[in-house]
């Protein structure tokens, strides 16, 4: 860190280089660095946080960081785009990142592979910053994949544990499927826009350029492009049907879950969708698909969360559900392009929710991490209980998070959810109208399952040995909780959001129906949860047939398992057999055996019988003469 304050244009470079340096040095030389690696990682994160604060005050700019590929016909440079949206997102990423680094100091204290963990964490920070700062889609894709890699490394941190290794693999592969679509989208845009995939270029071109023509005349291509970009988001933000990896990703250390799988990486999909919202606006059918995908994800995940017993899984499904909310908002806003949201204005309901959700969900996850830490890695809520007394700080912050997520008025969750509901309420068109009710239902369920979890884990009596001996976590872990709680309280208010201007939409007048619907949802959800679980010893909902469906996550895992088994492995078996039998047989063995057969037959010519030789010679002579005298003169060449 140079002594003098860095010039604004070098901020993005530093934001990328510092974590990269930290990651590489730790991952490659961790033996040499030993304990220093933790310090490097936390230090770089702290510096980056300061940089992020500095950046909040900087002006919009595009900075060339590295000429990744620059040949005639293709420029895929690493360029950092600093605008209101990226500034805000960087702030979220860096602030939560720093807190998670701090929390991890306590949480991972006894881990043998601490260095590797911090190295991967730095790698993640690097990649995430890259996505946020990306000025063009190529750069976005590059870091998109790197985020997948760091997520792979962090989920699989305890790779000796088969479940963790499998979860890491699943996460990476599912993300890859999303990236497959993302790349198609990028390529379509590249083609349609004559080789320019920078956000500014695309936007201009859509207003008056080649893309404008494409959108008008070739809606199929535009749809493909929009859906491609969306598919990337589906993978990264774990939307239906690629949602299966996120709950499994909870196998990773809990701070990771807080950072990656709640606040930042999964939000990258939404961030990217908002960045590209003009593309989606250009294809109304894509917007419809996106909105419905989000809605279905929100509802489905909320339903599943009702019947989960693992504290982290409940939060994971809750995250899914909230991400669905955001995606739905993107789709809805895009489908009403021009009517409500001017893509030039930075505020977007989805980004607002992303922003508020990031803080309270990170807090919830860290809180659950604290609980797990205190209960000696017990994650089942039915084996907790009564933690209120043992862990007052955690309890308080967790309660705040629960309320914010449930949407208690004046908490951050209330405002952002309100904004999305408002959009959903105002949309026109028969295909989109039901989404409002889905959103309300989801809100009800959210309030319900959060109350359930809170009641079961923190209230009542301790239901296990570990839970009864739990003690408050050390200060280094408690501090992030408190800071996040403060942020949760402060974040929705205009004076805070003004700094992060992209994070809050201007639109503010709450509609009466929307307000009453959301209050009703809160009341029904919290009330129902409180009644059912206030003093429950076991889950009163267990055993119902519908509840088994929820408990087993609608059997998605089993379905996918079957598909993988049948389609992938079965086909692999079949094709590999065909490859060896048919292709090899036709291309190699058949001609070879024909030649061999001929050779064998021809050996009869030299069978050793002198007379046969004489006969053959005579015949040959006659043939030759006949050929030369009778045949060839007739077929001159």
């Amino acid at each position: 860190m140079p002594a003098d304050s860095p010039s604004p244009s070098s901020l993005p470079s530093l934001l990328l280089l510092l974590p990269l340096f930290s990651a590489l040095s730790i991952l490659l030389f961790k033996r040499l660095l030993k304990g220093a690696s933790v310090a490097i990682s936390v230090g770089s994160s702290a510096v980056c946080f300061v940089l992020a604060l500095l950046m909040l005050g900087s002006s919009d700019s595009v900075t060339l960081i590295a000429p990744f590929i620059q040949v005639p016909g293709l420029t895929a440079a690493l360029e950092a785009l600093v605008d209101s949206q990226s500034r805000g997102m960087i702030f979220i990423v860096q602030s939560i990142g720093l807190l998670v680094h701090l929390f991890s100091l306590g949480y991972m204290k006894d881990d043998e592979a601490r260095e590797r963990f911090f190295g991967a964490l730095s790698l993640f920070m690097f990649s995430m910053n890259g996505i946020v700062l990306a000025a063009n889609l190529f750069m976005a894709f590059i870091f998109w994949e790197l985020v997948g890699l760091s997520s792979f490394l962090l989920i699989g941190h305890w790779f000796e544990k088969p479940s963790a290794a499998e979860a890491a693999k699943k996460a990476f592969l599912t993300n890859r499927i999303g990236d497959f679509g993302f790349m198609i989208g990028i390529l379509c845009l590249f083609m349609a826009n004559h080789g320019d995939v920078s956000f500014s270029g695309l936007k201009e071109s859509l207003a008056s350029g080649p893309l404008h023509e494409t959108a008008r005349l070739h809606s199929g291509l535009m749809f493909l492009a929009a859906m491609g970009v969306f598919m990337g988001a589906v993978g990264k933000s774990a939307q239906f049907p690629l949602h299966v990896w996120l709950p499994d990703a909870m196998e990773g250390p809990t701070p990771v879950s807080a950072l990656i799988h709640a606040a930042t990486m999964v939000a990258a999909g939404v961030y990217m969708l908002v960045r590209c919202s003009f593309v989606i606006e250009a294809s109304p059918s894509a917007a419809l698909w996106i909105a419905w995908t989000g809605g279905i994800t929100a509802l489905m995940a909320a339903l599943i969360a009702v019947r989960q017993d693992d504290i982290k899984r409940v939060l994971a499904y809750s995250t899914l559900s909230q991400l669905g909310y955001m995606v739905m908002a993107v789709g809805l806003v895009a489908s009403q392009a021009g009517a409500q949201h001017d893509s030039a204005s930075p505020g977007h309901p989805a980004m607002f929710h992303l922003y508020t959700h990031a803080f309270f969900k990170a807090m919830l996850f860290l809180g659950s991490g604290a609980v797990i830490y205190a209960c000696h890695h017990e994650q089942n809520i039915w084996k907790m209980g009564g933690l209120r007394r043992h862990m007052p700080v955690t309890f308080a912050t967790f309660a705040l998070g629960t309320l914010a997520l449930a949407g208690l008025p004046l908490t951050s969750g209330f405002f952002s959810k309100e904004a999305i509901l408002g959009v959903a309420y105002e949309v026109k068109g028969p295909w989109l109208a039901p989404l409002f009710w889905i959103a309300v239902l989801t809100a009800t369920l959210t309030a319900f399952y959060m109350t359930r979890m809170f009641c079961v884990a923190f209230l009542g009596k301790s239901r296990s040995e570990h839970a009864s001996h739990a003690t408050e976590v050390p200060a280094v872990m408690a501090l992030p909780l408190v800071v996040l709680a403060l942020l949760t309280l402060l974040s929705p208010w205009d004076w805070a959001a003004r700094l992060l201007s992209a994070m809050k939409p201007d639109h503010a007048a709450p509609h009466l129906t929307v307000l009453s619907a959301s209050l009703l949802a809160l009341g029904v959800g919290v009330g129902g949860g409180w009644r059912l679980y206030r003093n429950a010893e076991s889950d009163p909902l267990a055993g119902r047939p519908w509840s088994r469906w929820l408990e087993n996550k609608f059997y998605f895992d089993e379905l996918y398992q079957g598909i993988v088994h049948l389609v992938q492995d079965g086909m692999a078996w079949l094709i590999s057999g065909l490859d060896r039998g048919l292709i090899d047989g036709l291309v190699a063995r058949l001609p070879a055996s024909i030649a061999g057969r001929f050779g064998q037959r021809l050996r009869a010519l030299t069978g050793g019988q002198l007379q046969a030789y004489g006969f053959f010679l005579g015949l040959g002579l006659i043939w030759l003469i006949y050929e030369l005298v009778m045949v060839l003169p007739l077929n001159p060449r």
Binding site: S59, D60, V62, T63, P67, F68, I69, Q70, V71, P72, L74, A76, D83, A135, F138, F141, I142, F143, E145, L146, L149, G156, F159, E160, P162, A165, A168, K169, F172, L173, R176, D179, F180, I184, L187, F190, M191, A192, H194, D196, V197, S198, S200, G201, P210, H218, L221, L224, Q568, A572, I575, S576, D579, R580, I583, D584, L586, V587, A588, A592
Partner: protein
């Protein structure tokens, strides 16, 4: 006298010396290293000139009429491939376990392959280019037959299959090259075999499009067989899986790239219209999809690391052909870059697989696991190789693949998806497939609980050199692809390039 002749001669001399009993430690790896320095020297003395410029020219007349010269010279593409050759050669020599019986033969073969490949890459004569490749092929096949792994009957079968495939393929190739040269040579003149003269002739008197396509088909089959283009691929995987480590590294990493190199030399320059014939382009597209999807599926079925790597190497050739099918400067530069990157990554993976097999005795997935905790260094190196091979950004292969895909979509003004674009989309699915098997291997070998009684230790530092060299090349070429691209691509024009948009004031 061109320094390239020295570069060609060095490995041959080393091979001869080794066969006469020269000490392995002195005569093998150091010579290969010297060649790396030599090629680097050539690269430096060449300076930053345009990629088309042929420098370090030298020539020895072999026949006057028809004129046949052993002429050498490097342009950017040649230099990149030569660099690949010498780097992989040095690492291959480094990897050979000198204590093993037959190590000497392996060293000799490694040097011979290196010489042949180098010759093929720096030759400026179309016929000699072919000849050098063939020369490298024979020791490869012999060493597979004689020192491959497994039952002798099995390795003989594998070697024979490869021999027959490659023999037939190279003869088809020879026929195609002859046809090409004869067609381009003006009526009544002595045959032209010189690459540069042929390029000039092709530019001045282009052949009819149909004839270009016909010659292109023969060449695609010929070169394709050498590069294991579907459906002529079944020789490759067993051969790599059976070959000794150094041979597998050199053949899959370097020698196989000859076919691609040859096509890069011939197709765009001499037969520019060949792939504009729809039938040929469609045939190529189907074939390369066969490589990517069909072989990809075969690859998923493998339950053994070296067979999986072998199939994956076949699979990845599909992307190179995709670039050729797309045509256009970006895609072709991508092909060259990916060929380079793939050579490095597959060599690294084969080297690791060989090392693991030597210690563990098996590479079967179901018998292994949890090696990551025993040998973190190998784990990291393996991650490098595997993630590079599945196209992770930041490692070398990604940039090439990206350029190829972009090349497929890079037709300005196109508003509907054509054959090439749909092929590219289907080929993109291959990226997912390669992640499936790549991660499966990683998971099965290095993660999870360790297998019983099998132990893997990190190699001592001195023996990591070659592996680290390859891995760091992957990283450097991956993070800074503009460095290798500077060799093969012209500098971007001065006009504000697409994508790089000046910052806007708000």
């Amino acid at each position: 006298m061109s320094p390239l002749f020295i570069a060609l001669l060095l490995p041959v001399v080393a091979a001869v010396a080794l066969s006469r009993g020269a000490p392995l430690k002195l005569a093998s790896t150091p010579v290969a290293l010297a060649n790396v320095l030599l090629i680097l020297g050539v690269m430096l003395s060449r300076g930053f000139v345009s990629p088309e410029v042929v420098s370090h020219v030298g020539s020895i007349a072999m026949l006057q009429s028809p004129a046949l010269n052993l002429s050498v010279g490097v342009d950017g593409l040649s230099l990149l491939m030569a660099l690949l050759t010498v780097v992989v050669s040095v690492c291959a020599c480094w990897q050979i376990d000198n204590k093993r019986e037959g190590a000497r033969a392996e060293h000799i073969v490694a040097h011979l392959i290196s010489a042949g490949a180098l010759g093929a890459f720096v030759c400026r004569d179309l016929l000699m280019l072919y000849a050098f490749h063939e020369l490298a092929l024979i020791p490869t096949l012999l060493i597979i037959a004689l020192q491959g792994r497994g039952e002798s009957a099995n390795r003989l079968r594998v070697a024979w299959k490869a021999t027959v495939y490659l023999g037939v393929g190279s003869l088809i190739l020879l026929a195609g090259l002859c046809w090409l040269m004869v067609s381009l040579t003006p009526e009544g003149a002595a045959l032209v075999t010189d690459l540069d003269s042929l390029l000039k002739l092709a530019k001045e008197h282009p052949l009819p499009a149909l004839k270009q396509a016909q010659i292109g088909l023969v060449l695609l089959v010929g070169f394709g067989t050498l590069v294991s283009l579907f459906p002529f691929h079944t020789w490759a995987a067993p051969a790599y899986a059976t070959a000794p480590v150094s041979t597998a590294m050199l053949h899959s990493g370097v020698l196989k790239k000859f076919g691609i190199y040859g096509l890069l030399r011939v197709l765009p320059g001499m037969l520019p219209l060949a792939l504009s014939q729809a039938w040929l382009q469609e045939a190529l597209c189907w074939a390369l999809l066969g490589n990517i999807l069909w072989v990809g599926w075969v690859c998923i079925h493998q339950r053994n690391l070296d067979e999986m790597l072998a199939h994956s190497s076949v699979m990845h050739m599909g992307y190179l052909f995709l670039g050729l099918a797309a045509g256009g400067a970006v895609a072709l530069e991508g092909v060259a870059l990916l060929a380079f990157a793939h050579g490095i990554s597959i060599a690294l993976l084969f080297a690791l697989a060989g090392r693991m097999r030597a210690q563990l005795g098996t590479l079967e997935f179901r018998r292994l696991g949890g090696l990551g905790s025993h040998s973190p260094a190998l784990y990291v190196l393996f991650c490098f190789g595997m993630f590079a091979s599945i196209g992770l950004p930041g490692l070398a292969n990604f940039a090439g693949e990206l350029m190829i895909f972009v090349g497929c979509f890079g037709h300005p003004g196109a508003t509907a998806l054509g054959m090439v674009q749909w092929t590219a989309i289907a080929a993109l699915w291959g990226v997912v497939m390669s992640a499936v098997y790549g991660l499966r291997a990683l998971r099965a070998l290095f993660q999870g609980t360790s297998g019983s009684g099998l132990f893997l230790s990190d190699p001592p530092l001195a023996q990591r050199g070659g592996l680290v060299l390859l891995a760091s090349l992957l990283l450097v070429a991956g993070t800074c692809p503009w460095l290798p691209l500077r060799l093969i691509a012209p500098a971007p024009k001065d006009k504000p390039a697409a994508g790089a948009v000046a910052p806007k004031a708000h």
